[in-house]
Amino acid sequence: MNNLVVMPIVLPLLTGAVLIFFREQIIVQRFLSLVSVVVLIVISFLLMQQVKQEGIQTLYAGGWLPPFGIALVADMFAMLLVLTTAIVALCCLWFSFRSIGNPRERYYFYPLFQFLLTGVCGSFLTGDIFNLFVFFEVMLMASYVLIAHGGTNIQLRETMKYILINSVSSTLFVCALAYLYSVLGTLNMADLSLRVAEAGQQGILNVIAVLFLIVFSLKAGLFLYFWLPGSYSAPPTAIAAVFAALLTKVGIYALFRTFTLIFYHDPGFTHQLIAWMAALTMIAGAIGAIAYQDVKQILVYNVVIAVGFIVFGLAAMTSASLQGAIFYLLHDMIIKAALFLLGGAVIGIAGTSQLKRMGGLIRRHPLLGWLFFLAAIALAGVPPLSGFIGKLQLVQGGIQAQMYGIVGISLVSSLFVLYSVMKIFMNSFWGETGESPIGGESQGGGALKGLLAPCAVLIGLSVVMGLGVEWMIPYIEAAAGTLLDPYIYIDAVLKE
Protein backbone atom coordinates (compact mmCIF):
# COMPACT_ATOMS: atom_id res chain seq x y z
CA MET A 1 0.00 0.00 0.00
CA ASN A 2 1.34 3.37 -0.95
CA ASN A 3 -0.96 6.37 -0.84
CA LEU A 4 1.39 8.40 -3.01
CA VAL A 5 0.12 6.45 -6.04
CA VAL A 6 -3.21 8.27 -5.98
CA MET A 7 -1.67 11.75 -5.83
CA PRO A 8 -1.17 12.21 -9.61
CA ILE A 9 -4.93 11.67 -9.96
CA VAL A 10 -6.25 13.54 -6.94
CA LEU A 11 -3.98 16.56 -7.12
CA PRO A 12 -5.24 17.85 -10.51
CA LEU A 13 -8.80 16.91 -9.57
CA LEU A 14 -8.67 18.94 -6.36
CA THR A 15 -6.92 21.84 -8.11
CA GLY A 16 -9.56 21.84 -10.84
CA ALA A 17 -12.37 21.89 -8.28
CA VAL A 18 -10.80 24.70 -6.25
CA LEU A 19 -10.09 26.79 -9.37
CA ILE A 20 -13.83 26.98 -10.11
CA PHE A 21 -14.18 29.16 -6.99
CA PHE A 22 -11.72 31.71 -8.40
CA ARG A 23 -13.35 32.27 -11.75
CA GLU A 24 -12.79 36.03 -11.86
CA GLN A 25 -9.30 36.05 -10.31
CA ILE A 26 -7.26 34.96 -13.31
CA ILE A 27 -3.93 35.60 -11.58
CA VAL A 28 -4.93 33.23 -8.75
CA GLN A 29 -6.01 30.62 -11.30
CA ARG A 30 -2.73 30.82 -13.16
CA PHE A 31 -0.69 30.67 -9.98
CA LEU A 32 -2.58 27.71 -8.48
CA SER A 33 -2.57 25.66 -11.66
CA LEU A 34 1.14 26.29 -12.16
CA VAL A 35 1.95 25.28 -8.56
CA SER A 36 -0.21 22.19 -8.92
CA VAL A 37 1.53 21.02 -12.09
CA VAL A 38 4.98 21.63 -10.60
CA VAL A 39 4.04 19.61 -7.52
CA LEU A 40 2.70 16.93 -9.86
CA ILE A 41 6.10 16.73 -11.57
CA VAL A 42 7.89 16.42 -8.22
CA ILE A 43 5.52 13.73 -6.95
CA SER A 44 5.69 11.67 -10.13
CA PHE A 45 9.47 11.88 -10.09
CA LEU A 46 9.62 10.68 -6.48
CA LEU A 47 7.17 7.91 -7.23
CA MET A 48 9.20 6.86 -10.24
CA GLN A 49 12.33 6.59 -8.11
CA GLN A 50 10.37 4.54 -5.60
CA VAL A 51 9.20 2.19 -8.36
CA LYS A 52 12.78 1.84 -9.53
CA GLN A 53 14.05 0.91 -6.09
CA GLU A 54 11.18 -1.09 -4.60
CA GLY A 55 9.37 -2.49 -7.63
CA ILE A 56 5.77 -1.89 -8.67
CA GLN A 57 3.78 0.28 -6.25
CA THR A 58 0.12 -0.54 -5.71
CA LEU A 59 -2.73 1.06 -3.85
CA TYR A 60 -5.97 -0.77 -3.10
CA ALA A 61 -8.54 2.00 -2.94
CA GLY A 62 -10.67 1.79 0.18
CA GLY A 63 -8.57 -1.09 1.50
CA TRP A 64 -10.43 -3.69 -0.60
CA LEU A 65 -8.02 -6.24 -1.98
CA PRO A 66 -8.11 -7.10 -5.69
CA PRO A 67 -9.88 -8.60 -7.52
CA PHE A 68 -12.73 -7.12 -5.43
CA GLY A 69 -11.64 -3.51 -5.10
CA ILE A 70 -10.06 -1.06 -7.50
CA ALA A 71 -6.29 -1.33 -7.58
CA LEU A 72 -4.14 1.57 -8.68
CA VAL A 73 -0.89 0.24 -10.08
CA ALA A 74 2.20 2.34 -10.65
CA ASP A 75 4.65 0.32 -12.70
CA MET A 76 7.58 1.87 -14.52
CA PHE A 77 5.73 2.20 -17.85
CA ALA A 78 2.88 4.10 -16.22
CA MET A 79 5.18 6.30 -14.15
CA LEU A 80 7.34 7.30 -17.13
CA LEU A 81 4.17 8.34 -18.93
CA VAL A 82 2.77 10.22 -15.93
CA LEU A 83 6.02 12.13 -15.48
CA THR A 84 6.19 13.02 -19.18
CA THR A 85 2.53 14.05 -19.09
CA ALA A 86 3.22 16.39 -16.18
CA ILE A 87 6.19 17.98 -17.95
CA VAL A 88 4.28 18.46 -21.20
CA ALA A 89 1.37 19.89 -19.21
CA LEU A 90 3.65 22.40 -17.52
CA CYS A 91 4.99 23.68 -20.84
CA CYS A 92 1.55 23.86 -22.47
CA LEU A 93 0.17 25.67 -19.44
CA TRP A 94 3.05 28.14 -19.59
CA PHE A 95 2.40 28.68 -23.29
CA SER A 96 -1.31 29.20 -22.66
CA PHE A 97 -0.65 32.01 -20.14
CA ARG A 98 0.50 34.17 -23.03
CA SER A 99 -1.64 32.84 -25.82
CA ILE A 100 -5.04 31.60 -24.70
CA GLY A 101 -6.66 35.01 -24.12
CA ASN A 102 -8.75 36.52 -21.39
CA PRO A 103 -12.28 35.39 -22.44
CA ARG A 104 -11.27 31.75 -22.51
CA GLU A 105 -9.43 32.05 -19.20
CA ARG A 106 -12.57 33.43 -17.56
CA TYR A 107 -14.64 30.52 -18.80
CA TYR A 108 -12.94 27.76 -16.83
CA PHE A 109 -9.97 27.03 -19.09
CA TYR A 110 -7.66 26.17 -16.21
CA PRO A 111 -10.10 23.90 -14.33
CA LEU A 112 -10.77 21.99 -17.57
CA PHE A 113 -7.06 21.66 -18.19
CA GLN A 114 -6.66 20.13 -14.72
CA PHE A 115 -9.58 17.75 -15.27
CA LEU A 116 -7.98 16.62 -18.52
CA LEU A 117 -4.80 15.87 -16.58
CA THR A 118 -6.85 13.93 -14.01
CA GLY A 119 -8.24 11.72 -16.75
CA VAL A 120 -4.88 11.16 -18.44
CA CYS A 121 -2.96 10.33 -15.23
CA GLY A 122 -5.85 8.18 -14.01
CA SER A 123 -5.86 6.16 -17.24
CA PHE A 124 -2.15 5.50 -16.86
CA LEU A 125 -2.34 4.47 -13.22
CA THR A 126 -5.46 2.38 -12.95
CA GLY A 127 -5.34 -1.40 -12.66
CA ASP A 128 -9.02 -1.98 -13.28
CA ILE A 129 -10.40 -2.06 -16.78
CA PHE A 130 -13.76 -0.46 -15.96
CA ASN A 131 -11.94 2.23 -14.06
CA LEU A 132 -9.90 2.74 -17.23
CA PHE A 133 -13.18 3.41 -19.04
CA VAL A 134 -14.19 5.95 -16.40
CA PHE A 135 -10.88 7.81 -16.63
CA PHE A 136 -11.14 7.73 -20.42
CA GLU A 137 -14.49 9.47 -20.04
CA VAL A 138 -13.09 12.03 -17.58
CA MET A 139 -10.39 12.82 -20.11
CA LEU A 140 -12.81 12.89 -23.05
CA MET A 141 -15.39 15.09 -21.30
CA ALA A 142 -12.69 17.65 -20.54
CA SER A 143 -11.42 17.41 -24.11
CA TYR A 144 -14.94 17.90 -25.54
CA VAL A 145 -15.23 21.18 -23.72
CA LEU A 146 -11.68 22.26 -24.51
CA ILE A 147 -12.06 21.56 -28.22
CA ALA A 148 -15.24 23.65 -28.35
CA HIS A 149 -13.88 26.26 -25.94
CA GLY A 150 -14.29 29.73 -27.35
CA GLY A 151 -17.02 28.69 -29.77
CA THR A 152 -15.65 29.67 -33.17
CA ASN A 153 -17.46 28.15 -36.15
CA ILE A 154 -14.76 25.68 -37.10
CA GLN A 155 -14.44 24.54 -33.49
CA LEU A 156 -18.17 23.86 -33.21
CA ARG A 157 -18.22 21.88 -36.46
CA GLU A 158 -15.23 19.75 -35.50
CA THR A 159 -16.53 19.27 -31.95
CA MET A 160 -19.68 17.68 -33.34
CA LYS A 161 -17.63 15.10 -35.22
CA TYR A 162 -15.26 14.57 -32.32
CA ILE A 163 -18.03 14.00 -29.78
CA LEU A 164 -19.94 11.74 -32.15
CA ILE A 165 -17.01 9.47 -32.91
CA ASN A 166 -15.94 9.31 -29.29
CA SER A 167 -19.46 8.55 -28.07
CA VAL A 168 -19.61 5.65 -30.51
CA SER A 169 -16.23 4.33 -29.45
CA SER A 170 -17.10 4.69 -25.76
CA THR A 171 -20.29 2.73 -26.34
CA LEU A 172 -18.24 0.03 -28.03
CA PHE A 173 -15.89 0.10 -25.06
CA VAL A 174 -18.79 -0.56 -22.67
CA CYS A 175 -20.06 -3.38 -24.90
CA ALA A 176 -16.58 -4.93 -24.98
CA LEU A 177 -16.41 -4.68 -21.20
CA ALA A 178 -19.82 -6.30 -20.87
CA TYR A 179 -18.74 -9.21 -23.09
CA LEU A 180 -15.50 -9.58 -21.18
CA TYR A 181 -17.25 -9.51 -17.82
CA SER A 182 -19.85 -12.05 -18.87
CA VAL A 183 -17.15 -14.43 -20.10
CA LEU A 184 -14.61 -14.06 -17.31
CA GLY A 185 -16.51 -12.52 -14.39
CA THR A 186 -13.83 -10.08 -13.30
CA LEU A 187 -12.63 -6.59 -14.19
CA ASN A 188 -9.27 -6.32 -12.45
CA MET A 189 -6.60 -6.39 -15.15
CA ALA A 190 -4.19 -8.69 -13.31
CA ASP A 191 -7.01 -11.10 -12.49
CA LEU A 192 -8.30 -10.88 -16.07
CA SER A 193 -4.87 -11.89 -17.29
CA LEU A 194 -4.92 -15.01 -15.14
CA ARG A 195 -8.46 -15.91 -16.22
CA VAL A 196 -7.61 -15.54 -19.91
CA ALA A 197 -4.54 -17.73 -19.41
CA GLU A 198 -6.76 -20.37 -17.77
CA ALA A 199 -9.51 -20.28 -20.38
CA GLY A 200 -7.15 -20.11 -23.35
CA GLN A 201 -7.51 -17.24 -25.76
CA GLN A 202 -9.62 -18.51 -28.62
CA GLY A 203 -13.12 -18.09 -29.96
CA ILE A 204 -15.05 -15.48 -28.05
CA LEU A 205 -11.99 -14.12 -26.25
CA ASN A 206 -10.32 -13.36 -29.55
CA VAL A 207 -13.47 -11.58 -30.68
CA ILE A 208 -13.41 -9.50 -27.52
CA ALA A 209 -9.72 -8.76 -28.07
CA VAL A 210 -10.51 -7.45 -31.55
CA LEU A 211 -13.35 -5.35 -30.13
CA PHE A 212 -10.90 -3.78 -27.69
CA LEU A 213 -8.47 -3.27 -30.55
CA ILE A 214 -11.14 -1.36 -32.48
CA VAL A 215 -12.06 0.75 -29.45
CA PHE A 216 -8.52 1.74 -28.57
CA SER A 217 -7.59 2.23 -32.22
CA LEU A 218 -10.39 4.76 -32.48
CA LYS A 219 -9.03 6.56 -29.42
CA ALA A 220 -5.40 6.33 -30.50
CA GLY A 221 -5.89 7.09 -34.18
CA LEU A 222 -4.44 3.73 -35.22
CA PHE A 223 -5.73 3.24 -38.78
CA LEU A 224 -9.16 4.47 -37.61
CA TYR A 225 -7.81 8.02 -37.57
CA PHE A 226 -10.28 9.65 -39.96
CA TRP A 227 -11.68 11.93 -37.24
CA LEU A 228 -8.27 13.12 -36.09
CA PRO A 229 -7.03 15.65 -38.69
CA GLY A 230 -10.13 17.84 -38.43
CA SER A 231 -10.49 17.71 -34.66
CA TYR A 232 -6.87 18.42 -33.81
CA SER A 233 -6.53 21.39 -36.12
CA ALA A 234 -9.62 23.18 -34.78
CA PRO A 235 -8.75 24.29 -31.19
CA PRO A 236 -6.25 27.02 -30.22
CA THR A 237 -2.54 26.18 -30.19
CA ALA A 238 -2.04 25.41 -26.50
CA ILE A 239 -5.04 23.05 -26.46
CA ALA A 240 -4.10 21.37 -29.74
CA ALA A 241 -0.60 20.75 -28.37
CA VAL A 242 -2.00 19.05 -25.26
CA PHE A 243 -4.29 16.94 -27.43
CA ALA A 244 -1.53 15.91 -29.82
CA ALA A 245 0.87 15.13 -27.00
CA LEU A 246 -1.46 13.33 -24.60
CA LEU A 247 -4.81 12.11 -25.93
CA THR A 248 -3.73 9.64 -28.62
CA LYS A 249 -1.00 8.43 -26.26
CA VAL A 250 -3.57 7.31 -23.74
CA GLY A 251 -5.12 5.13 -26.45
CA ILE A 252 -1.67 3.75 -27.29
CA TYR A 253 -1.04 3.07 -23.62
CA ALA A 254 -4.33 1.17 -23.39
CA LEU A 255 -3.37 -0.89 -26.46
CA PHE A 256 -0.02 -1.74 -24.91
CA ARG A 257 -1.61 -2.61 -21.58
CA THR A 258 -4.36 -4.86 -22.92
CA PHE A 259 -2.25 -6.62 -25.53
CA THR A 260 0.75 -7.29 -23.29
CA LEU A 261 -1.10 -8.05 -20.07
CA ILE A 262 -4.42 -9.63 -21.04
CA PHE A 263 -4.60 -10.74 -24.67
CA TYR A 264 -1.08 -11.91 -25.38
CA HIS A 265 -1.75 -15.62 -25.92
CA ASP A 266 -2.54 -15.62 -29.62
CA PRO A 267 -0.05 -13.19 -31.16
CA GLY A 268 -0.28 -14.92 -34.52
CA PHE A 269 -3.77 -13.47 -34.83
CA THR A 270 -4.04 -10.30 -32.74
CA HIS A 271 -0.52 -8.96 -33.09
CA GLN A 272 -0.51 -9.74 -36.80
CA LEU A 273 -3.65 -7.65 -37.11
CA ILE A 274 -2.03 -4.84 -35.12
CA ALA A 275 1.03 -5.00 -37.39
CA TRP A 276 -1.11 -4.57 -40.51
CA MET A 277 -2.98 -1.68 -38.96
CA ALA A 278 0.29 -0.02 -37.92
CA ALA A 279 1.70 -0.38 -41.44
CA LEU A 280 -1.42 1.09 -43.02
CA THR A 281 -1.40 3.93 -40.48
CA MET A 282 2.18 4.83 -41.37
CA ILE A 283 1.44 4.76 -45.11
CA ALA A 284 -1.74 6.81 -44.83
CA GLY A 285 -0.14 9.28 -42.41
CA ALA A 286 2.83 9.74 -44.71
CA ILE A 287 0.54 10.40 -47.66
CA GLY A 288 -1.33 13.01 -45.63
CA ALA A 289 1.85 14.65 -44.37
CA ILE A 290 3.33 15.19 -47.81
CA ALA A 291 0.05 16.05 -49.51
CA TYR A 292 -0.85 19.22 -47.60
CA GLN A 293 0.53 22.74 -47.89
CA ASP A 294 -0.94 23.71 -44.54
CA VAL A 295 1.13 23.80 -41.34
CA LYS A 296 -1.64 22.46 -39.11
CA GLN A 297 -2.55 19.57 -41.41
CA ILE A 298 1.08 18.51 -41.85
CA LEU A 299 1.64 18.42 -38.10
CA VAL A 300 -1.60 16.53 -37.50
CA TYR A 301 -0.68 13.82 -40.01
CA ASN A 302 2.68 13.51 -38.26
CA VAL A 303 0.73 12.54 -35.13
CA VAL A 304 -0.87 9.75 -37.17
CA ILE A 305 2.47 8.45 -38.49
CA ALA A 306 3.91 8.35 -34.97
CA VAL A 307 0.97 6.27 -33.73
CA GLY A 308 1.65 3.67 -36.40
CA PHE A 309 5.33 3.74 -35.57
CA ILE A 310 4.89 3.18 -31.85
CA VAL A 311 2.25 0.48 -32.18
CA PHE A 312 4.47 -1.38 -34.62
CA GLY A 313 6.75 -1.92 -31.59
CA LEU A 314 3.85 -3.61 -29.82
CA ALA A 315 3.16 -5.84 -32.80
CA ALA A 316 6.76 -7.07 -32.95
CA MET A 317 6.72 -7.94 -29.21
CA THR A 318 10.44 -8.38 -28.74
CA SER A 319 12.44 -6.84 -25.91
CA ALA A 320 14.18 -4.38 -28.23
CA SER A 321 11.01 -3.32 -30.01
CA LEU A 322 9.11 -2.71 -26.76
CA GLN A 323 11.99 -0.67 -25.33
CA GLY A 324 12.15 1.28 -28.55
CA ALA A 325 8.39 1.84 -28.53
CA ILE A 326 8.45 3.12 -24.94
CA PHE A 327 11.38 5.43 -25.65
CA TYR A 328 9.74 6.66 -28.82
CA LEU A 329 6.45 7.18 -27.00
CA LEU A 330 8.09 9.43 -24.40
CA HIS A 331 10.04 11.28 -27.08
CA ASP A 332 6.95 11.71 -29.20
CA MET A 333 4.90 13.21 -26.36
CA ILE A 334 7.55 15.86 -25.80
CA ILE A 335 8.41 16.62 -29.38
CA LYS A 336 4.79 16.71 -30.61
CA ALA A 337 3.95 19.24 -27.92
CA ALA A 338 6.99 21.30 -28.95
CA LEU A 339 6.14 21.09 -32.66
CA PHE A 340 2.51 22.05 -32.16
CA LEU A 341 3.47 24.98 -29.94
CA LEU A 342 6.09 26.18 -32.43
CA GLY A 343 3.71 25.61 -35.34
CA GLY A 344 1.12 27.69 -33.51
CA ALA A 345 3.68 30.44 -33.00
CA VAL A 346 4.58 30.35 -36.70
CA ILE A 347 0.93 30.62 -37.71
CA GLY A 348 0.51 33.40 -35.15
CA ILE A 349 3.23 35.62 -36.57
CA ALA A 350 2.63 34.80 -40.23
CA GLY A 351 -1.13 35.32 -39.89
CA THR A 352 -1.86 32.31 -42.09
CA SER A 353 -1.36 28.56 -41.99
CA GLN A 354 -0.82 28.25 -45.75
CA LEU A 355 2.83 27.56 -46.55
CA LYS A 356 2.62 29.25 -49.93
CA ARG A 357 1.79 32.58 -48.33
CA MET A 358 4.61 32.72 -45.81
CA GLY A 359 8.36 33.02 -46.11
CA GLY A 360 11.44 34.72 -44.77
CA LEU A 361 10.47 34.43 -41.13
CA ILE A 362 14.04 33.56 -40.15
CA ARG A 363 15.14 37.16 -40.68
CA ARG A 364 12.96 38.50 -37.95
CA HIS A 365 12.64 35.40 -35.74
CA PRO A 366 15.90 33.44 -35.86
CA LEU A 367 15.39 31.75 -32.48
CA LEU A 368 11.96 30.47 -33.48
CA GLY A 369 13.41 29.23 -36.75
CA TRP A 370 16.23 27.24 -35.24
CA LEU A 371 14.05 25.83 -32.48
CA PHE A 372 11.68 24.62 -35.16
CA PHE A 373 14.60 23.15 -37.09
CA LEU A 374 15.80 21.26 -33.99
CA ALA A 375 12.29 19.97 -33.31
CA ALA A 376 11.96 18.86 -36.93
CA ILE A 377 15.18 16.84 -37.03
CA ALA A 378 14.45 15.41 -33.57
CA LEU A 379 11.10 14.23 -34.93
CA ALA A 380 12.72 12.57 -37.90
CA GLY A 381 15.27 10.83 -35.65
CA VAL A 382 18.63 12.42 -36.42
CA PRO A 383 21.25 10.83 -34.08
CA PRO A 384 22.16 13.27 -31.30
CA LEU A 385 18.50 13.97 -30.59
CA SER A 386 15.85 11.97 -28.78
CA GLY A 387 14.06 10.48 -31.78
CA PHE A 388 17.02 8.39 -32.83
CA ILE A 389 17.46 5.74 -30.19
CA GLY A 390 13.78 4.85 -30.08
CA LYS A 391 13.66 4.40 -33.84
CA LEU A 392 16.90 2.41 -33.82
CA GLN A 393 15.58 -0.03 -31.23
CA LEU A 394 12.24 -0.30 -32.99
CA VAL A 395 13.99 -1.19 -36.24
CA GLN A 396 16.23 -3.69 -34.44
CA GLY A 397 13.24 -5.28 -32.75
CA GLY A 398 11.35 -5.43 -36.03
CA ILE A 399 14.26 -7.17 -37.76
CA GLN A 400 14.55 -9.65 -34.87
CA ALA A 401 10.86 -10.43 -35.31
CA GLN A 402 11.51 -10.81 -39.06
CA MET A 403 8.97 -8.18 -40.03
CA TYR A 404 11.12 -6.79 -42.82
CA GLY A 405 8.26 -5.29 -44.81
CA ILE A 406 7.03 -3.12 -41.96
CA VAL A 407 10.56 -2.11 -40.99
CA GLY A 408 10.98 -0.92 -44.56
CA ILE A 409 7.71 1.01 -44.40
CA SER A 410 8.71 2.62 -41.10
CA LEU A 411 12.08 3.75 -42.47
CA VAL A 412 10.53 5.22 -45.60
CA SER A 413 7.87 6.90 -43.50
CA SER A 414 10.66 8.53 -41.43
CA LEU A 415 11.93 10.00 -44.65
CA PHE A 416 8.49 11.39 -45.42
CA VAL A 417 8.28 12.81 -41.88
CA LEU A 418 11.55 14.61 -42.44
CA TYR A 419 10.41 15.86 -45.84
CA SER A 420 7.10 17.13 -44.50
CA VAL A 421 8.52 19.11 -41.58
CA MET A 422 11.44 20.40 -43.65
CA LYS A 423 8.85 21.60 -46.14
CA ILE A 424 7.38 23.74 -43.37
CA PHE A 425 10.83 24.96 -42.35
CA MET A 426 12.03 25.84 -45.82
CA ASN A 427 8.83 27.44 -47.01
CA SER A 428 8.09 29.51 -43.93
CA PHE A 429 11.53 30.46 -42.67
CA TRP A 430 13.65 30.69 -45.81
CA GLY A 431 13.04 32.62 -48.98
CA GLU A 432 11.53 36.03 -49.52
CA THR A 433 9.26 37.59 -46.95
CA GLY A 434 5.78 36.29 -47.68
CA GLU A 435 2.86 38.47 -48.70
CA SER A 436 0.59 37.17 -45.93
CA PRO A 437 -2.28 39.47 -44.98
CA ILE A 438 -1.04 40.48 -41.52
CA GLY A 439 2.49 39.42 -42.40
CA GLY A 440 5.65 40.19 -40.48
CA GLU A 441 6.00 43.94 -40.00
CA SER A 442 2.99 44.86 -37.95
CA GLN A 443 3.20 42.04 -35.45
CA GLY A 444 6.98 41.91 -35.10
CA GLY A 445 8.74 40.38 -32.11
CA GLY A 446 6.11 41.35 -29.57
CA ALA A 447 3.76 38.60 -30.64
CA LEU A 448 6.31 35.97 -29.70
CA LYS A 449 7.12 37.34 -26.28
CA GLY A 450 7.03 34.57 -23.68
CA LEU A 451 5.93 31.93 -26.17
CA LEU A 452 9.36 30.56 -27.01
CA ALA A 453 10.52 29.72 -23.48
CA PRO A 454 8.22 26.68 -22.98
CA CYS A 455 9.13 25.39 -26.46
CA ALA A 456 12.81 25.81 -25.66
CA VAL A 457 12.34 23.81 -22.45
CA LEU A 458 10.70 20.97 -24.37
CA ILE A 459 13.39 20.91 -27.03
CA GLY A 460 16.10 21.11 -24.38
CA LEU A 461 14.50 18.07 -22.78
CA SER A 462 14.53 16.28 -26.12
CA VAL A 463 18.28 16.99 -26.45
CA VAL A 464 18.86 15.77 -22.89
CA MET A 465 16.91 12.60 -23.65
CA GLY A 466 19.01 12.05 -26.74
CA LEU A 467 22.34 12.63 -25.03
CA GLY A 468 21.40 10.98 -21.72
CA VAL A 469 20.26 7.67 -23.14
CA GLU A 470 22.56 5.81 -20.75
CA TRP A 471 20.78 7.41 -17.83
CA MET A 472 17.33 6.53 -19.19
CA ILE A 473 18.03 2.93 -20.19
CA PRO A 474 17.46 1.35 -16.72
CA TYR A 475 14.01 2.95 -16.53
CA ILE A 476 13.08 1.90 -20.05
CA GLU A 477 14.34 -1.62 -19.45
CA ALA A 478 12.30 -1.92 -16.27
CA ALA A 479 9.19 -0.72 -18.11
CA ALA A 480 9.72 -3.09 -21.05
CA GLY A 481 10.49 -5.96 -18.67
CA THR A 482 7.06 -5.64 -17.06
CA LEU A 483 5.39 -5.56 -20.45
CA LEU A 484 7.24 -8.65 -21.64
CA ASP A 485 6.57 -10.70 -18.51
CA PRO A 486 3.01 -10.05 -17.29
CA TYR A 487 3.61 -12.16 -14.19
CA ILE A 488 5.73 -9.37 -12.68
CA TYR A 489 2.63 -7.16 -12.85
CA ILE A 490 0.23 -9.88 -11.71
CA ASP A 491 2.39 -10.83 -8.73
CA ALA A 492 2.68 -7.23 -7.64
CA VAL A 493 -1.09 -6.69 -7.78
CA LEU A 494 -2.44 -10.00 -6.51
CA LYS A 495 0.11 -10.68 -3.76
CA GLU A 496 -1.44 -11.23 -0.35
Partner: protein, 141 residues
Protein backbone atom coordinates in the same frame (compact mmCIF):
# COMPACT_ATOMS: atom_id res chain seq x y z
CA UNK B 1 -49.71 37.53 -22.47
CA UNK B 2 -49.49 36.70 -18.80
CA UNK B 3 -51.75 33.90 -17.68
CA UNK B 4 -52.83 33.79 -14.07
CA UNK B 5 -51.30 30.65 -12.66
CA UNK B 6 -52.37 30.96 -9.05
CA UNK B 7 -53.28 27.27 -8.87
CA UNK B 8 -49.87 26.19 -10.10
CA UNK B 9 -48.12 28.52 -7.67
CA UNK B 10 -50.16 27.52 -4.64
CA UNK B 11 -49.78 23.90 -5.51
CA UNK B 12 -46.02 24.31 -5.99
CA UNK B 13 -45.58 25.89 -2.58
CA UNK B 14 -46.80 22.69 -0.95
CA UNK B 15 -45.42 20.12 -3.37
CA UNK B 16 -41.90 21.58 -3.61
CA UNK B 17 -41.50 20.99 0.12
CA UNK B 18 -42.70 17.43 -0.12
CA UNK B 19 -40.27 16.71 -2.94
CA UNK B 20 -37.42 18.34 -1.02
CA UNK B 21 -38.14 16.23 2.06
CA UNK B 22 -38.40 13.11 -0.08
CA UNK B 23 -35.07 13.89 -1.76
CA UNK B 24 -33.48 14.33 1.66
CA UNK B 25 -34.95 11.00 2.70
CA UNK B 26 -33.57 9.31 -0.42
CA UNK B 27 -30.17 10.87 0.21
CA UNK B 28 -29.99 9.58 3.79
CA UNK B 29 -31.52 6.18 3.04
CA UNK B 30 -28.87 5.35 0.44
CA UNK B 31 -26.72 3.18 2.67
CA UNK B 32 -29.26 0.46 3.45
CA UNK B 33 -32.06 1.03 0.95
CA UNK B 34 -32.37 2.25 -2.63
CA UNK B 35 -31.34 5.89 -2.80
CA UNK B 36 -28.16 7.84 -2.35
CA UNK B 37 -26.46 11.01 -3.46
CA UNK B 38 -27.23 10.80 -7.15
CA UNK B 39 -30.96 10.16 -7.03
CA UNK B 40 -31.33 12.47 -4.01
CA UNK B 41 -29.58 15.24 -5.91
CA UNK B 42 -31.77 14.75 -8.98
CA UNK B 43 -34.90 14.89 -6.79
CA UNK B 44 -33.76 18.12 -5.17
CA UNK B 45 -33.14 19.69 -8.53
CA UNK B 46 -36.59 18.49 -9.62
CA UNK B 47 -38.07 20.48 -6.74
CA UNK B 48 -36.00 23.53 -7.70
CA UNK B 49 -37.00 23.21 -11.36
CA UNK B 50 -40.65 23.09 -10.30
CA UNK B 51 -40.12 26.38 -8.47
CA UNK B 52 -38.51 27.90 -11.55
CA UNK B 53 -41.47 26.75 -13.68
CA UNK B 54 -44.13 28.06 -11.36
CA UNK B 55 -42.48 31.39 -10.58
CA UNK B 56 -40.25 33.48 -12.83
CA UNK B 57 -36.49 33.24 -12.69
CA UNK B 58 -35.92 36.51 -10.88
CA UNK B 59 -38.18 35.55 -7.97
CA UNK B 60 -36.54 32.19 -7.44
CA UNK B 61 -33.05 33.63 -7.80
CA UNK B 62 -33.89 36.05 -4.99
CA UNK B 63 -35.40 33.24 -2.94
CA UNK B 64 -32.43 30.87 -3.33
CA UNK B 65 -29.33 33.02 -3.81
CA UNK B 66 -26.96 30.13 -4.64
CA UNK B 67 -24.35 30.06 -7.39
CA UNK B 68 -24.85 26.51 -8.64
CA UNK B 69 -21.47 26.43 -10.41
CA UNK B 70 -19.73 26.98 -7.09
CA UNK B 71 -21.94 24.23 -5.68
CA UNK B 72 -20.39 21.79 -8.17
CA UNK B 73 -16.93 22.90 -7.07
CA UNK B 74 -17.90 22.56 -3.42
CA UNK B 75 -19.25 19.05 -3.98
CA UNK B 76 -16.10 17.95 -5.78
CA UNK B 77 -13.89 19.43 -3.08
CA UNK B 78 -15.83 17.68 -0.30
CA UNK B 79 -15.70 14.34 -2.12
CA UNK B 80 -11.94 14.61 -2.65
CA UNK B 81 -11.29 15.70 0.90
CA UNK B 82 -13.09 12.68 2.34
CA UNK B 83 -10.28 10.69 0.75
CA UNK B 84 -7.58 12.80 2.34
CA UNK B 85 -8.41 11.55 5.81
CA UNK B 86 -6.71 8.33 4.76
CA UNK B 87 -3.38 10.17 4.57
CA UNK B 88 -3.72 11.14 8.23
CA UNK B 89 -4.75 7.70 9.48
CA UNK B 90 -2.23 5.85 7.28
CA UNK B 91 -4.80 3.68 5.51
CA UNK B 92 -5.41 3.23 1.76
CA UNK B 93 -7.03 6.16 -0.04
CA UNK B 94 -10.84 6.40 0.30
CA UNK B 95 -11.00 3.88 3.16
CA UNK B 96 -14.28 4.54 4.92
CA UNK B 97 -15.21 3.92 8.51
CA UNK B 98 -18.39 3.88 10.58
CA UNK B 99 -19.47 3.83 14.17
CA UNK B 100 -22.53 3.82 16.42
CA UNK B 101 -23.30 6.98 18.34
CA UNK B 102 -26.00 7.91 20.83
CA UNK B 103 -27.53 11.10 19.52
CA UNK B 104 -30.18 13.23 21.21
CA UNK B 105 -33.69 12.54 19.82
CA UNK B 106 -32.50 9.84 17.38
CA UNK B 107 -31.03 7.40 19.88
CA UNK B 108 -28.50 4.82 18.75
CA UNK B 109 -27.51 5.80 15.18
CA UNK B 110 -25.00 4.46 12.72
CA UNK B 111 -22.83 7.25 11.32
CA UNK B 112 -20.54 6.46 8.37
CA UNK B 113 -17.91 8.61 6.68
CA UNK B 114 -19.25 7.39 3.34
CA UNK B 115 -22.06 9.93 3.83
CA UNK B 116 -19.55 12.73 3.44
CA UNK B 117 -18.60 11.39 0.01
CA UNK B 118 -22.28 11.06 -0.83
CA UNK B 119 -22.81 14.65 0.24
CA UNK B 120 -20.17 15.62 -2.30
CA UNK B 121 -22.00 13.64 -4.99
CA UNK B 122 -25.31 15.21 -3.93
CA UNK B 123 -24.01 18.77 -4.18
CA UNK B 124 -22.32 18.07 -7.50
CA UNK B 125 -25.47 16.57 -9.00
CA UNK B 126 -27.71 19.41 -7.80
CA UNK B 127 -25.19 22.00 -8.98
CA UNK B 128 -24.61 20.29 -12.31
CA UNK B 129 -28.29 19.79 -13.12
CA UNK B 130 -29.27 23.32 -12.15
CA UNK B 131 -26.34 24.81 -14.08
CA UNK B 132 -27.50 23.01 -17.23
CA UNK B 133 -31.14 24.04 -16.74
CA UNK B 134 -30.40 27.67 -15.98
CA UNK B 135 -27.75 28.02 -18.69
CA UNK B 136 -30.27 26.87 -21.31
CA UNK B 137 -33.04 29.01 -19.82
CA UNK B 138 -30.92 32.17 -19.81
CA UNK B 139 -29.76 31.61 -23.36
CA UNK B 140 -32.62 33.30 -25.25
CA UNK B 141 -31.01 36.70 -25.81
Amino acid sequence: MKVNDVILQTYTKAVAFIILIFSLYLFLAGHNQPGGGFIGGLMTSAALVLLYIAFDMKTVDNMIPIDFRKMVALGLTIAVFTGFGSFIFQVPFLTHSFGYFRLPLLGETELATAVMFDLGVYLTVVGGTMTIMLAIAEDDD
